[in-house]
Subunit: 328 residues, 4 copies
Amino acid sequence: MFNPRTDLAVEAREIYNKNREVEIEGVSVDTKRMLGGIRIVTVNVLNEKGEKAIKKPKGTYITMEIPEVKHYDVDLHEDLTRALSEEILKIVDVKKDLKTLVIGLGNWHVTPDALGPKVISKLMITRHLKEYMPDELEEGINPVAALAPGVLGITGIETAEIVKGLVEKTKPDVVIVIDALAARKVERVARTIQIGDTGIAPGAGVGNKRMELSKETLGVPVIAIGVPTVVDAATLANDTIDSMIDSLIEETKNNSETKGFYNMLKSLDKEEKYNMIKGVLSPYSSNMLVTPKDIDALIEDLAKIIANSINISLHPSIDLNDIDRYLF
Amino acid sequence: MFNPRTDLAVEAREIYNKNREVEIEGVSVDTKRMLGGIRIVTVNVLNEKGEKAIKKPKGTYITMEIPEVKHYDVDLHEDLTRALSEEILKIVDVKKDLKTLVIGLGNWHVTPDALGPKVISKLMITRHLKEYMPDELEEGINPVAALAPGVLGITGIETAEIVKGLVEKTKPDVVIVIDALAARKVERVARTIQIGDTGIAPGAGVGNKRMELSKETLGVPVIAIGVPTVVDAATLANDTIDSMIDSLIEETKNNSETKGFYNMLKSLDKEEKYNMIKGVLSPYSSNMLVTPKDIDALIEDLAKIIANSINISLHPSIDLNDIDRYLF
Amino acid sequence: MFNPRTDLAVEAREIYNKNREVEIEGVSVDTKRMLGGIRIVTVNVLNEKGEKAIKKPKGTYITMEIPEVKHYDVDLHEDLTRALSEEILKIVDVKKDLKTLVIGLGNWHVTPDALGPKVISKLMITRHLKEYMPDELEEGINPVAALAPGVLGITGIETAEIVKGLVEKTKPDVVIVIDALAARKVERVARTIQIGDTGIAPGAGVGNKRMELSKETLGVPVIAIGVPTVVDAATLANDTIDSMIDSLIEETKNNSETKGFYNMLKSLDKEEKYNMIKGVLSPYSSNMLVTPKDIDALIEDLAKIIANSINISLHPSIDLNDIDRYLF
Amino acid sequence: MFNPRTDLAVEAREIYNKNREVEIEGVSVDTKRMLGGIRIVTVNVLNEKGEKAIKKPKGTYITMEIPEVKHYDVDLHEDLTRALSEEILKIVDVKKDLKTLVIGLGNWHVTPDALGPKVISKLMITRHLKEYMPDELEEGINPVAALAPGVLGITGIETAEIVKGLVEKTKPDVVIVIDALAARKVERVARTIQIGDTGIAPGAGVGNKRMELSKETLGVPVIAIGVPTVVDAATLANDTIDSMIDSLIEETKNNSETKGFYNMLKSLDKEEKYNMIKGVLSPYSSNMLVTPKDIDALIEDLAKIIANSINISLHPSIDLNDIDRYLF
């Protein structure tokens, strides 16, 4: 079955479910609501049936649906930071002296793609301190290292190669990868945080086992945290037209005069339509992104929220109120 | 008649012309092709009839339709720089010691809106040199000053207030204003350069005489140079659906079965449709922009091209080959 | 009498006092200590005698001597913000609806000179809100506007011309000017905040009445807030040699063998020495700056402290704890 | 013998030579002059005697002494680029398909330390193109990869660990390391380019074999290219006082009255003096840097020159005139 591109498990599931009334076999879904209007959907892909159904490897996909992140709403920032930290702690077992390596994927110089590097810049980096001045660090600070390796076009090196080398040298217990994602729905952009334990396949690497960042390729658990920051233009147009056709179908349903068209519409297959649209837009659409007007501020805020939730998760002795004492 | 927002005169004209076969009274249009696949459309709004028809004040609107600006294609960069300079020199009479003030509108910190400030940063600023070390400057260097005042949200001051004060103090002979524009068609983004001699109404100022930057408000000729860098998401969806309905109309035209729908489609009014779409997208679309993936590099290149075309236009003794001796 | 360059009144006074034991006539000095190891010296130049003596116009010069600003020491940040606010409120009478214009001098692109623009970027800008949506603003928010006009080399326009035009258009009740200063002593860099009510003469404008920003030239009170961020290299060498010669004098004083040299040293005049050094260093020293290694972080912190102290001073209804609700 | 810190071999040699008239055993020195006022000194440390003498490992140290790099002087930029390329080609044997990894040391966010990362951003990165679209690349383009790993404080990982992992994964034939250096003399800052074939020990790593980047630790030749961008403040003061004392010695030499002091001065030992000065300056000096006023522009220009000299050296088919076609 045809799927416009999405990096979000919860979307994959929806796409699949659209034409079905039943839940998917091999996939369990749990939903809960939290403070500050946060809704958390946990999708567990249990087996191959589930993998086939929603085209995501076996594992846990936590999707936090969050309110609009306003720049000045520090209360929401704090609720989000704590909620995200809770979910991280469900996947990562933070035992004493846990060694973590955080990788920030994406391109510093392209705003909607800079989430990963920005998170890195806001992390508490402690690995070298543990090594060179262990006595000066209080209890409950764990060794954290980080790298924003840049993208293939800038380094000429697959991110996976860089990370593999780094993992072999620094031997972390767990790797956390941060990335900006593409969403299928405009309303998901900057409104969803996804946490997964099945790793990630950066950019070019999609569908390329060799390039995956996962337990299989790195030998240690790989946690991926992502936020959709863009929608591709063709997808946007496609979704608009879907909704429009649905309303047309309504209008024409019981109208004998338009019966024929009604049938025609019903018979229109998603892929046909999507390609027709791509045709209409192309060649320009392929180079266009749909992104929020205030993407610069959004990336800044989301990076702070993700970085601090990692900070308070990995360092048991650090509370959110202490963060400013260690960071800007 | 209804018009989705556009800053481009050539688009305004098209919108208007769509349902007409004849040229517009009060508007003259001249088209020519140039080196490097550049097409230049000059729209002259001659009188009130013309003003009413395309909703732009009387004056000259030059639209350069340009090929895709590739980062490394310096030949194209040069062709564009020279071609733009030619058009500038048609509107600006560069006599000896012409005093020019260049204003870069827009927000440094929002990539697609940073065109104006970036152009300023690449200009040859000479006004102070003419004043403090006139003898060290060769013949044919004219006094040029520039300011990127920032946007209302950052300064709390209408750009027009800042510029008016500056014009009164520095008494330039001409003001050139650079701004990033919104286009109606994806294919116009970063593919059109508009030059006009009727000034501009920055952001909030639209339709607000007081806030206009024009000969009327500043007392000196105001040349506006703009490049569309974004399309709003609803507009994108709208245009896609237009084209789709056109093809549906084709399909259903001679098909008795869908005759009824054919008529329904024909009767669909643009505004209805646009609002329907806005409904479908909202509330998210209103905050979304459609912009090229490589907008960062595009802004950089376009700023260089515009700045250098201004440099060689305003300083008779400077040729493009000399620029590097004075600038980066 | 000879003075190496200094922008700090308290230094000007010291230089003068060095060879005198008595306090200066026409100059009153008051010193107090505050929380967080802050020491505040208030120099009042009372009359022409005082002006002659320390080469600063009549007025009040408050010098806050502050501890090292550590990036993570938010308590100190808060103490400094509140203390600076107290001093500002002594010079600025913040009555209801006071209209303030804040000017950030300096060059965005040169780190030690970017203090002014950075402060602007962290201010609560409210003038436009008061104008366009007065009802949405709570009591006790006053209209604040701001501009970072850039430096002469970038605009070709004297800052004073830009500011004068702006003041005429926007008619503020008071102007606050922020600037990065040059100190004479390394230990003053980033360790002193100076507040004065006699305005300022930006860069090139020094000793150029026309270019001054002051009540005399703008027609409204002008408050200047500055922090030394650099020392010039020759000054550094000069001071080192002073201290060294002092110790040599000690060594040689009672030693008949070196009596002759002792006398020679005593007779060495400051200016001679300074020029000898300039000779030794030149031509390189003239282009060199002495600045802290972590100047980037220092500028960031100091800008936040100054901006927030202005924010809580100008808006009676805003407390430091609210700031984050309005700003990033 | 005591040496103030220097990263420059040519300085190490001078320090050593100061008190000797003869050339150093185990060290050969060759000097030549080139176009554009460039002087190239090649120091070869031939054996252990040489190593002991100038405290640098056996190998070749090429020092290009260059004129002041003016922003607009593109002719000088080109002369420097070509001259540097010639020297690189003497140390690197660029055979067909030579695989190069370029490492940019230093901190993006500290201007004088950003040389390495800036060079990386201006390199022609081709390794991935050779891999994914070999046919689209013309003859004589070799695979080049690059990384700016950031500094220990930002990553928590020693640069050497990152680079070692990367070398094992990507198996380059040669590694080129770019770094900003500390000079002992103000007049060397931004006026010297050093190329060496003995690798480098980044920041903390100094004197720490484990952290060295060298053939010994990486298993492939390591070329280091560095430019001094700072002098430490104590060194500056020290050198000033040296010159001053020399002139005092002159003055006192034949003056019976000051004979005693003359002898005292002669007997003053460098280290004593340096410590006396450090005392005078401390604790501030230790945190101060002496750097050119226009360091931002200098770093930009030097990065362009170094990057392009690497580009034309590693890609036989690329001439300086082509660069713009491939890069910005």
